[in-house]
Symmetry: C2
Subunit: 373 residues, 2 copies
């Protein structure tokens, strides 16, 4: 089938501000005003039954598809969203919002705290995936939408999918969690914690108070991102991409980057700090570590829920190993829910959810078609 790209798109903003529109957070604290940056693709049908909510991963944003005026690169899941694509914008109305705690337009630690007129920094409250999803529900309300045909996302996006099921089961018809877990394992927490420690070890982090200062915790954040990148790839994909290839003809016998893989990691680390806020990295990873939707916390036994699941994992993903996806499926089946499990034979590791477009498209298109209203 022929697909088309979405043209120019624009990020929009939705703010809920006045009492009682502050959000009561999982921690018990309140947050407000809250702005969500979001984008939409396609058109809402008359019955408002064609809505797909796309949830993004740790370093993603609201710009999932199409081009921003003047940009060279499209949104982060452009290959999946557009006319004829997996999330077919000729049929579906697709929404993607930046998570709170983030730094891409939604309220986060770098936003201005109305109480002090300065950026929140560490005054920003700790948020959870549940808090993130509750703000998304406010956005859906605002757009006049009652139920979602589908919630879909990979990695942390998949956690939001599961959280939608747990918090608003009556508002979800289909759920597609990809390369994700219902709860972070100690190894996943450990990788996040080391990333946070790398940021916090940077003196320029200054206890979160670095906005507008000449020094920002760039080096710490770059190290955190480098760790992340190793976990997003697989041993095999690194071997295929880099092997032991050198940047120069021979070893330099110095601490410069001898191997291409070293140069790549340094580049990715340095690049990330230009587009991401160190405090957001702390808040978002913490939200992921806190999620625990195992067993009855996802759906209480005996509670009726009319939701169909497509759970996707990738064979070489060792950051979110497939046994975690299988655990989700097991819990769903025990509760009598319709759940299809698919493990894609990819060598890309965790990154596969952004790269295995053909396989994902086949699975998702068919699944959506079967369940659309």
């Amino acid at each position: 089938m022929k697909t088309k790209n979405i043209g120019i798109v624009k990020t929009e903003y939705f703010t809920f501000a006045e009492h009682p529109n502050e959000l009561k957070l999982s921690s018990g604290k309140k947050l407000g005003p809250i702005t969500l940056a979001y984008e939409t693709y396609g058109s809402l049908n008359k019955d408002k039954t064609n809505v797909i909510l796309v949830a993004h991963a740790l370093s993603g944003d609201a710009h999932a598809a199409g081009m921003h005026e003047g940009d060279k690169d499209p949104g982060w899941w452009d290959a999946m969203i557009g006319p004829g694509k997996a999330l077919d914008t000729e049929k579906y109305f697709v929404i993607c919002a930046n998570v709170i705690g983030g730094c891409k337009g939604s309220t986060g630690p770098s936003s201005i705290n109305p109480k002090t007129n300065k950026p929140y920094g560490l005054e920003f409250p700790i948020i959870t995936i549940e808090d993130i999803v509750k703000t998304q529900a406010r956005l859906i309300d605002y757009l006049g939408i009652k139920t979602l045909l589908c919630v879909i996302g990979g990695s942390m996006g998949g956690m939001q999918v599961l959280q939608w099921v747990a918090t608003f089961p009556e508002r979800v018809r289909c759920a597609i969690p990809i390369a994700t877990a219902a709860k972070h394992s100690p190894q996943q927490i450990a990788f996040d914690e080391v990333g946070r420690q790398a940021v916090m070890a940077d003196p320029a982090w200054n206890n979160g108070d670095y906005y507008g200062k000449p020094e920002t915790p760039e080096r710490g954040l770059a190290v955190a991102r480098m760790i992340g990148h190793i976990t997003y790839m697989s041993d095999k994909s690194m071997e295929e991409k880099f092997s032991r290839k050198l940047k120069e003809k021979d070893y330099t016998f110095s601490f410069t980057a001898d191997f291409e893989v070293e140069g790549y990691l340094r580049y990715r680390g340095d690049n990330f700090v230009k587009r991401f806020d160190a405090n957001s990295y702390l808040y978002i990873t913490k939200a992921m570590d806190y999620i625990d939707l195992s067993g009855d916390k996802l759906l209480p036994k005996g509670k009726h829920a009319d939701i169909r699941f497509l759970v996707i994992a990738f064979k070489s993903d060792w950051l979110y190993p497939s046994y975690q996806a299988q655990d989700i499926v097991r819990q769903l089946k025990i509760r009598g829910l319709e759940a299809t499990y698919c493990e894609i034979r990819s060598t890309y590791g965790h990154d596969a959810f952004l790269l295995e477009i053909d396989e994902e498209t086949r699975l998702i298109k068919h699944f959506l078609k079967r369940h659309e209203v």
Copy 2:
């Protein structure tokens, strides 16, 4: 069989200093004087045919067994070395030396550079595993020993075992590389590089010039060690040890360590910096990244070598996955060498080489008995 512990031991020192006793390094640079800290256990027999050289891993040292006067804990492989143990000191004369580049008594970046009378810092030359092994050969010469009954070691220790085979094949009778690789894969290089970047990102590292200064790169080194610790354990062993257990009753909704695994990593990181030098971390990881003894570099085809191998890997070791050990065995078999391969079913991950004592003891004892002179 009943085993005994070795009593009190002392580290000894061997220095080779005068021209022509400088060591010409792989990089082409020269290093001297060189001191090696080493320990020996058991007695050398008359024919000097009962010598086992133990090679240590990244953070190890010469103190492999027995107790130092006043210490509470024995050497790092005490469970393997002693009367009746795997390396039976009633029969064998066991030697272990701290690697050059290290910080436990052998010459390294924290040693005094005789040319400046200040610590070397980054003036210390980049060293390789081959350089390390060549200094060990000098020590063996000094002790009047021609050939080793066995060279044995895990992780970086295993690389030294393979390097002995490559550099001094006529001086080795048996070789036991454990949980190791003939060459670092890009993923292994990547983990090392991130550890180095964590150290170098610490402003207190100060381009390696921090000795005697009030600030040392403790935070960077702690982050590096935390990354290391994740890679030394397995997903499963972390699950068994920590699960999602909290330090307090509930989430703290702060950036303190909520989970036991976080507290553990912070503790291990903080503890490491008290006993290890940040520059040594850089030099030793670089030496590991440089090793490449694949194929003919380990042993040229057609060259006769009278060496027997026992290659040990661990099922859950994802830092040095068993396919790397199998590659070594394949290369040895192609060259007509006697090589036994054993993959131990452990859940401990890479740490298993320090923990699976019973299994290792059975394998190694039998292997040594079969091949002793």
